[in-house]
Structures are given as C-alpha cells and as structure tokens.
Point group: C2
Chain length 311, copies 2
DNA sequence: TATTGCATTTTGTGTGTTCAAGATACACAA
DNA sequence: TTGTGTATCTTGAACACACAAAATGCAATA
C-alpha cells in the first residue's frame, strides 16, 4: 500500500483527494493547483503537497518541474476514503470499542486507564476516540473520574426511534424557507446513486455502501440551510452507522432505495418540493418498516429507562 | 462565598446538592446519606463528603459525629447551580469566547495557542471548552492545525430555524410509543413553574430563568424515551442559550409561558397526549413568532451559505 | 445491617521539554 | 500575475514526572 513515510494526515488527504478526483468528473491532464486543494480541505499547502507525492507514487498524477502536478489517470476504486467521518488508524479501535459495548462486553462505567490497558492504545489517542463518541452522544464524562456509556435501547428499538425521528424533520427540511439547491452537489450524489445501480452495488464494500447512503441524505438535507436539521441528520447517521455495523442487510433491496433516491432528485430538480417531501416521508417509512418490521405507533419492546440523572 | 480549599468538583457538587435540597421538598432534620448522593451524582463518596463540608460551613447542614450530616435549613436561593450544563470556572471563559465570536471579534479560523494566549488559560482547560463547543456543534477541528467556527446565520434567523425544528419533534415526542410519564419529575418542574408565577419571575436572574425554561422542555421531552429526540432538545437548548445571551427579553411575557407550561402538565397528567401535543405545537409557534416576529414560512433574511465543506 | 470515618490505591491533570509536521513567507519560474 | 519550490516559524502531540484529589476498601459505630 504505497510508502509509509508520509504523515497520517497526508495519507488521509490523499484518499480524500483521490475520491474527489474520481467523483468530480475532472478531465485527464488537468492541472491540479495546490492552494485550491488546501482551501477546500482546510489545511495548508504542506500536507497537500505530501498527499500529491503519494498520489504521484500511485501513478495517479505526475509532477512536472516548476509546473506542479497534473492528473494522469483516475484513481482506482480500491482506495477507501473515509467519506462520512474522517478517520485513520484510530477508526479500527473506535469500532472495536463500539462493538464491545453493544455486545455487552464493557460495563456502563469505565475509566480511561482501564480502556488504555484493554485496547493497548496511548492516552491521547483514546481520548480522541472518547471525545468523538461523546460528540456522537453515546458516552459521557462523569463529573469526577471516568466515563459512562449512555443507556441505549436495543438495536431494533433504536432503529425504530431513529426512523420515527427522521420522518419528522427530513421531509420538512425540503420545505424550509432557506432551501437552496446546489446543482454541483446534486449532480455528485446523482452520479453516485447511478453508479450504484450500474453494478457498484455488488462491487463495493458494505461500509462504502453505507457511506454513500448517508451522504445522499446529508447532502439533500444540507440544501435546507437549517443548521439544526443538518446537525440532526449527521447525528442520526453517526448512530445508525454503529447500529448497522452488526445488523443484517440485503444488497438486493438497496436497488429500490437507489431508484427512489434518484426519483427524489428529479422531483427536487423540477422544483416540486411539496411532492418531494411527501415522497421522502414514504421512502423513510418503507425503509423503517423493512428494518424494524414494525408498525409505526408500536414500540418494538419495552424500552429500558433512559432517563438522565437529573438529581 | 465560603472557603476556597475544597476542590472545584466539590464546589460544583455543593451547588447541585443545594439545588436538589431546595427543589425536592425534603424535610428539615432529615438524614443525608453520603452514598445516596454519590450514586445520584455519579461520583464517589469522597467529593460528596467535601461538598457536605462546604454546605456545613454555610449552615445548611450539620454534622454529628459518627452519624453523618443532617439538613438544618434550606439553602438560600442565592446559590447559583449550573443546572443545565455542569460548569465551574471554565464556564466564564466559555461564555466569553462565545460572546466574542458572536460579536465578530474572533476570526473564523483560530489556533489553540492563540486562544490560550488571548484568554490566558492552560491548554487542557481550553481544550475542554473547545470540545464542549464541538459537541454543541458550533466549532470544528480542522484536519491539520487549528479550529474553525461553524458558519452561523445571524441570531434572528437562527432562532427562527430552531423553532421550526422544535415544532416538528417536540409535539411528536409526546406521542412516542415509549412515552412514560415520571411522576416525580413532573412534580419537580410543576413546582418550578409555580414558583416562577409566585414571584420568582421577578426575583431570579436571567440565566436562572433560562435554565428553568430549558429544564421544563428537557424534562417533558425526556418522557418520550426517544434518545434522538432527547439529544435534539439538549442540542437546541445549548445553542439557544448562546443566542439568547445577548437578545432582548421580556420578563412580563414569561408569565404567559409559565401558565402554558402548567396547562401542558395538566393535559399530560390527564393522559390527553394528543391534545397536549397540539397545545405544545401552538405554544412553540407563539413563542417563535414573538421572538422572531416572522411568518412561519418566510425566511428572516437570506441565510448565509452554511454548506459544510464536502470536497 | 447500613452508614460513617479513615487509610490506601488509583486516576487523571499540570508542567516542562522535545520534536515531527503543519502553517507561512518569500524567491523564482512559467 | 499566478502558482511552485523551499526555507523558516509555529503548532500541538508525545513523553515523563510529580501531585492533588477521586475511587475504593475496611474497621468502627449507631
């Protein structure tokens, strides 16, 4: 997997840049300006430059003295960009901890050092993982020492809850007064979904499929320009990712989903937002029912108490 | 302001315990078991013990040798417990940074050390503040060095957005299948609201009024047992706190709100959830309109683009 | 038996230093 | 004039140690 002397950040950037190149239909031979990437990726030119060196070694780009880098060929689909949530080496541990917790192998109350020992990772790295989990809302710092996992209903009920929540605000987001469709982003997700239908569905990894699905919803809700709804969809997706990590899933059924996604984009493009909203609501309802096999107004099971200590 | 030789945590706990004693209608002379507080506050007995020592010095409790602490009198209302979000010394800096940012005194891109210098706080403390802001969704780590404030619409539009969001899920939360009313909590917020009507409204600080309002909604939505909705209301409240920090506000109008809150509790107690949901929707709509002076489907202003870099 | 009082263990923060690498400034080439 | 190449400055993570205080275990007491 190419040289290892580039920094971790540079490696990540290389993957993201590769993904960008592949998805944005840029022409072979085009000049790739360093500063432009730097601005888009919110970093300085230094790591961009290193990332380009990595891509050069892969043969994706070529460097010409004093003229910079040029695209030589589109990067192979094998490069795995962490699309939804930036991640690198810690990602594996993150999933491992999540998995252990969901499988009941970790107590509700844990201390940092115990986790350090158990997963053999340095404090700083662990803390980053914990902060991310905290941000995603499934672990909390205790006032004194240690951390505490948030009480979660079982996977099925959690799914049901998330879809009931999504059915409330996702359709409504299309009707927000600030709604503005961004053509380039719409085209990007349209290409993604089309690619899935054209066989990508069978070819891509499960994680990748999930990411593309999340990205679709993130992008569409993003058009609403309502910060609260945008936050909400990101949060739901982060949680869903963990839940779906173990759930069964059915490649065939995703075909329908892609078709529906494409149809939704069409409705939006025609400006039929009202209709699109209604369609999205039904779309979510169908997915919800398939995943939980449940009536909308029935609880899946008696939920454990999730009341936060209020004292 | 009592001695200062207790740890910061103990100080915080003392405030929270005082608040708990005042609000939970406990009898004078009652025995206060250390372990019970420790469990509720999610800490060990050690800091609880120190907190009790602080309260003893205030004359709120008395210690009897080998028998423990006993309540002597209810703590004065002057003790300010950070009810909504635990905080201590860092709280001040947190608000200061928020204020500076909203006032445009801080650039969009900032580095940790620049902030350390500017606000004269140690790295660790600053990082905790930054992580909290990140959790609340208004700042993000850049991939390389530094942090980046999230683009926010102006205060008025943000308010409008938040209320449109709340009108979607708050009423719906009352209709969740997992909805379970917790009597003791309902009584607690009822007492709070009643206390406000009985003059507390004019007596209490602005921050305190805000906290009691937030707590009301948090508690009611909490009955839904839907984790996503509970997260959402916490998030909205965190953001609203910052926005309202500078906005004008009208003590008189809160009287109506309290009455409506009490009415909502009655409806819930009668089990009229459907009716309660509809009432809550109207309640939010009224508050929304008063705060933004806007029609529901109109944008307050052309919102700035808040599209997150997707590359 | 439950709870306090106290001693002991463990945890996580603060401090200072070092260093890889990200940010930045500037000269030079196209 | 724009963008690359390169040197320099700055940042923030890693490491090690000391210490305050939080967690824990146990004897004493109501």
């Amino acid at each position: 997997m190419s040289r290892n002397d580039a920094s971790e950040l540079a490696q990540q950037l290389a993957l993201r840049m590769a993904d960008h190149l592949r998805r944005s239909g840029i022409a072979i031979g085009a000049h790739l300006a360093e500063q432009q990437f730097a601005d888009e990726l919110k970093v300085s030119r230094t790591p961009v430059r290193r990332a380009l060196a990595v891509l050069a070694e892969m043969g994706v780009v070529v460097q010409e003295p004093n003229r910079g880098y040029f695209l030589r060929k589109l990067p192979p689909a094998s490069v795995r960009p962490a699309l939804v949530d930036g991640a690198g080496l810690a990602e594996e541990r993150y999933l491992q901890i999540a998995d252990d917790r969901l499988a009941g192998k970790l107590e509700e109350h844990v201390t940092e050092t115990a986790l350090m020992r158990r997963y053999g990772m340095p404090r700083r790295e662990l803390q980053r993982v914990l902060h991310r989990m905290e941000k995603e809302g499934w672990i909390e710092r205790k006032p004194g020492h240690g951390w505490m996992f948030v009480q979660m209903p079982d996977s099925l009920e959690a799914h049901a809850q998330s879809y009931r929540f999504r059915m409330l605000f996702e359709p409504a987001s299309l009707l927000e007064p600030g709604f503005r469709l961004v053509k380039s982003e719409l085209e990007r997700v349209r290409r993604d979904q089309q690619m899935l239908l054209d066989g990508g569905l069978m070819r891509l990894s499960r994680a990748r499929l999930f990411e593309l699905g999340s990205d679709f919803h993130n992008t569409v809700i993003g058009f609403s320009n309502n910060r609260f709804m945008i936050d909400a969809i990101h949060r739901v997706n982060a949680m869903r990712r963990l839940l779906e990590y173990r759930a069964k899933f059915d490649r065939e059924r995703i075909t329908d989903q892609c078709r529906e996604h494409l149809h939704l984009l069409e409705l939006l493009e025609q400006g039929s937002r009202q209709e699109a909203a209604e369609f999205l609501r039904r779309h979510l309802d169908v997915v919800r029912e398939r995943k939980t096999g449940m009536d909308k107004d029935k609880a899946v099971s008696t939920p454990r108490s999730t009341v936060t200590a209020q004292l």
